[in-house]
Subunit: 101 residues, 2 copies
């Protein structure tokens, strides 16, 4: 048994995997996730850093939250978003390594 033989995955698991990758498959969302790599940011700051409208960012953050890739925290009027866990970093780092070859 080589180290890379996969476990059996059924139709649904492969579908879920495609859904997960869709979250990373857009420039705006990748920029958001990468911005949150080191620390949380509020919506307005994400919008200006990424360079798209607050509304567009808000829509994308909703998607990322549904996918459990980011989490949010309210502080007064402001809502701060951060990465939900370290898997996001791992997955992005793997892709980065692939592209660097």
């Amino acid at each position: 048994m080589t180290p890379h033989v996969p476990h059996i995955l059924d139709e649904e698991q492969l579908f879920n995997m495609a859904e997960l990758f869709k979250a990373f498959a857009d420039s705006t969302r990748i920029k958001i996730l990468y911005l949150l790599f080191t620390e949380e940011h509020c919506v307005g700051d994400i919008a200006s850093d990424v360079g798209v409208s607050q509304s567009a960012i808000s829509h994308q953050l909703k998607l990322l939250k549904q996918m459990k890739l980011v989490k949010s925290r309210r502080e007064g009027k402001t809502i701060y978003y951060g990465l939900a866990d370290d898997h996001v970093k791992t997955i992005i780092n793997m892709a980065k390594e692939h592209l660097e070859e």
Copy 2:
């Protein structure tokens, strides 16, 4: 410096990363890649295993090849496709781990 602080990535690198993830962000393509995990297959077999038309598979294989995720080898009339390198496996395995939590 923590282990997870990312390197600086410019606009183009983040765009390329999104493009890479797009290759994984579709059920048909994930099924193709997963089918090729252990060994190469010819186009016709991929089509019947994945359950879509030969034409559709051919279009998708072209995409995957442009992304350098698969490579092909001709043997007579038949063309065999296999994974281009182990990064594909690594990236898919990372996603699998994330979903299993």
